[in-house]
Amino acid sequence: MSHYVLDRLKERFGTAILETHSNFGDDTATIEPTQWKTVCAFLRRDPGLDFDLPVDLCAVDYPNRKPRMEVVMHLYSVSKGHRVRLKARVGDEEMEGAELDSVTSIWPGMNWLERETWDMSGVRFRGHPDLRRILMYPEFEGHPLQKTYPADRTQPLVPYRTEDEAGMPIHKLEPFGPEEGMPFGRAGSIRGEDN
């Protein structure tokens, strides 16, 4: 596997490319966050690179690292048949400075992916035309894929029924507990019935 893409990037941007690797032929470049949009524009417009398909965008939270969030972008070139993975590290513990330039002007398809990254991880994209939540509802507080989001916190839109309302205990059914009734018979299949 040639390192054509990485070589071109290093040649063009020099120290703005913080580190690269090609494990198993997956070309990966970690770049300076301030150069995010410039690098993307180069990858899209250079005729030898021609990355025309934005495959994915997401962010990974490393709570012990500084900066904390690692935004990961995957690109593919349909005409050249090569791929590259870009990374940029942004944000401190309080998510201050977790911002990147939006690349929707380069790939319109990045619109929803950037909204998803904002929704799930709280990374903001400067210049995005419509940075709203896309998967969660507007009332949702916080960003669920941040490691600081409590694993058991739910935010129901409909208040849950209480046991008084239901007139019976409401609890999560145990998987296949002994009180679940008779197999394929009617007697005893109804909860709370003594027969």
Partner: protein, 212 residues
């Protein structure tokens, strides 16, 4: 109820006698004319399709006609995972249905949230709307669903509204303590793992002993 000999021995109140019979008649009629509203959200839908297709043939139970308006249906099939975002929609659909109405929780996700113990999934639709029959399974076999439907018909005929649960065909109650608990707080995972290892060691020892 619905029992002729018992009805004949009923003495005293003729009014009571008549009321019981009308309820029974209505229940008998309703249980064979269920109009379904399929609220199908996830992979259980595949099994629901198998259920309604000729091989398993829901039509045998008079429950095959889907109505995609809640106002024309009386049986709400909740088939699949319900996210918090869908909660208001589900509640609204349920409220729009005409009484008498029944709710069928198809599969483990609709019944309890399944393994989705997270920020986005409703931990069982009974947190939002009342449920008549739970069918566990991921997804349940069509036979289990048919059993749930027969259980529901039985409930309708008896005017019974307490929830019923279809039990799996293979009874895992023996060794139920080995089942992984869904709630994080329910069991100490270290104890669970050590118990499983102990059990495995014992069964391996038995197998070796048996072969010699």
């Amino acid at each position: 109820m619905g029992d002729v000999t018992r009805s004949l021995t009923l003495e005293g109140s003729e009014q009571g006698f008549a009321t019981t019979r009308v309820d029974d008649l209505l229940g008998w009629a309703r249980k064979y004319s269920l109009f379904a509203y399929p609220f199908v959200t996830a992979c259980c839908g595949m099994e629901f399709m198998a259920l309604t297709s000729p091989r398993f043939d829901l039509a045998r139970f008079g429950a095959e006609a889907p109505r995609f308006s809640p106002r024309q249906s009386d049986l709400l099939w909740v088939v699949g995972t319900i996210s918090q975002r869908q909660g208001p929609v589900l509640k609204r659909i349920y409220e729009q249905m005409m009484a008498p109405k029944w709710v069928f929780a198809f599969g483990t996700c609709a019944s309890t949230g399944g393994f989705y113990d997270n920020y986005t999934t409703v931990p069982g639709i009974d947190k939002i709307i009342p449920v008549d029959v739970y069918v566990p399974g991921c997804p349940p076999r069509p036979e289990a669903v048919l059993d749930g439907l027969m259980l529901l018909q039985d409930k309708i005929a008896r005017n019974e509204r307490r929830p019923g649960v279809v039990k799996p065909r293979v009874d895992p109650v023996e060794g139920a303590e080995k089942l992984v608990q869904l709630r994080r707080s329910a069991a100490d995972p270290r104890q669970l793992v050590s118990a499983l290892k102990e059990e495995q060691r014992r069964s391996e020892g038995a197998a070796i002993g048996g072969s010699r």
